[in-house]
């Protein structure tokens, strides 16, 4: 069983099959939205497929904005360490003398 599990996600077929199931569930959830009568408390909530659209669009926006934020927020991994650790080292050196 462990041998089977070891490379489960290494096989593209398995991944594809999983994704197909996943897409199926997504489609089913939207279909249920049309069948089930939801009780709503908020005016937009009653729109058909409000939650799926909100979830999808929200997450895509989240990622797009976050990617854009990288442009001005991202620094090399040693951005702080370069200065702070060097200072700490030199202080320690001075303390030892």
């Amino acid at each position: 069983m462990s041998g089977d599990k070891h490379d489960f996600f290494d096989k593209p077929d398995n991944v594809r099959r999983l994704l197909r199931v996943f897409y199926g569930i997504c489609a089913l959830l939207v279909a249920l939205d049309l069948v089930v009568h939801r009780h709503t408390e908020y005016r937009w909530e009653g729109l058909p497929a409000f939650y799926p659209v909100y979830g999808f669009v929200g997450c895509v926006l989240l990622v797009v904005v976050a990617k854009w934020m990288r442009k001005f927020l991202m620094r090399p991994g040693d951005y702080y360490d370069r200065v702070e650790l060097a200072e700490a080292d030199s202080q320690r050196g001075r303390g030892d003398v």
Binding site: K5, H6, D7, F9, D10, L19, F22, Y23, I25, C26, L29, V30, L32, D33, V36, R38, H39, T40, E41, Y42, E45, A49, Y51, P52, V53, Y54, G55, F56, G58, C59, V60, L62, V63, V64, V65, A66, K67, M69, R70, F72, L73, M74, R75, P76, G77, D78, Y79, Y80, D81, V83, E84, L85, A88, D89
Partner: protein, 569 residues
Amino acid sequence: MFEVAPFVPFFVAAAIALFVRGWPRALLMVAVPLLGLANLWLLGPGSFGAWSVLDFELLLFRADRLSLLFGYLFHIAALIAIVYALHLRDTLQQVASLLYAGSALGAVFAGDLLTLFIFWELLALTSVMLVWARRTGRAYLAGLRYFFLQILSGLLLLGGIIFYAQAQGSLEFGYIGLGQGILDSVGSWMIFLAFGIKCAFPFFHNWLTDAYPESTPTGTVFLSAFTTKVAVYALARAYPGTELLVYIGATMACFPIFYAVIENDLRRVLAYSLINQLGFMVVGIGIGTSLAINGAVAHAFNDVIFKGLLFMSMGAVLQMTGRINGSELGGLYKTMPKTTVLCIIGAASISAFPLFSGFVSKSMVMSAAIQNGYDWVWLILLFASAGVFHHAGIKIPYFAFFAHDSGLRAKEPPTNMLVAMSIAAALCLAVGIYPQALYRLLPFEMSYSPYDLTHVLTQLQLLFFSALAFVWLNLRRLYPPELPSVNLDVEWLYRRLLPAAARSFFAAAFRLDERVRRTALHAVDRLMAGVTSYHKPDGVMARSWLTGSMVAGVVLLLGLYLLLGFSTY
């Protein structure tokens, strides 16, 4: 009956732990939270331990439904974290963690503000040891920054207490509110800010994302449980229904998820998502209705367990591979399947999947928001819920255990770690499946059922389509790759700008100083040269003078005196 305040067993055990080693210490540490929990159960609501200092009446133990729930929670969290850290042979960490858990209990059951302040500072003092216990340069500096902000919070609290006590004439720790009038509000604003720093309000949140990821694999589990939840408790007790908190909370729920998406250190991702979860609680406290407060408190309860579980699973990864950056991990499910499953349970809980614990508490805050007319806040929280699933629910397990194969073949962590994670996972499921057990412990009576068709369906839709967005972005290769990097945050102000400004200020001061010295030396040199020029051989002052000219000089002087003598009459 002989009554023992809940913090006492922990402090006593910490003292004993200094002297015993090996399995007696392990036994002691596991026994303490269990015995403490039994003790607290027997104590129940009530108060004792009144003592007075100067003119102030202090109260060591005061329990109502609110503090009792946090008390139970802290015992459970301590037990899980202690089991998780059972393999350690590090006196510093073990003693500090017992003292830390004890301080949290002391703060939660403090009946007056001064007692609260004492435990507030003890929390800072004991928890920083858990950061320093990593024993790296980075951890040392992060700990210093952490400690500085925690102490600042404590000082603000003390200052606020002084003002508040003057205005109110009482130190009782109850509802404070932001108050009206200058004298009233100075104290209550200072206390508000002190709680806010510990609760990681925006602009004061970086101590959390800075220090927690630098702690030891086991230390972070303790840290994530106590400090911020004590702050949530304090806010729930002193500032329920403060509208400002709704907006602060909505901000807290929203902005960290952007950082979490682009952060590489997976424990830092969890730290950002911790702030996001705190946001939900703060919103609940700000709304202040019984449903909202119940939701905030229930969410605090669940968050400690599932965030602990996530930190534990990432701690296990760090422990076994020595790495924690998403860019260096991946494919670990092959050799760590148990950790993978446990991590996914934590991820499902924080994402609020039906049947997992987050689902039954987050929805209470959401419902309260919409019932009280906070439409925009509700939309933001809904966005934050989708975002949580995106960065904590999918990103954490995906980049650690799946994604591309990093080639790492780490073994499963030690048994005690797996046991601790299993306890937490079981609790996540238990609360999710049978929420009434938790609801019965909440501060207010209520009849709330999270499992109705609408709620389950809409939540599943939200989550599945968030996942769909992740899948789509990944297949389109639009998802930002994990990069070894640092993302600038508010901390930049005091980690870069302030030191740089100070450095250039001192450099300028030194330059000025040097110039002044040089000018002075130059002037002295010139003076010396001048003096020398008069006194050198054949200089004016060193020359031998003729007797005649001396006499002429004296006559001139006497003549001058004569003149002056006459002129005065």
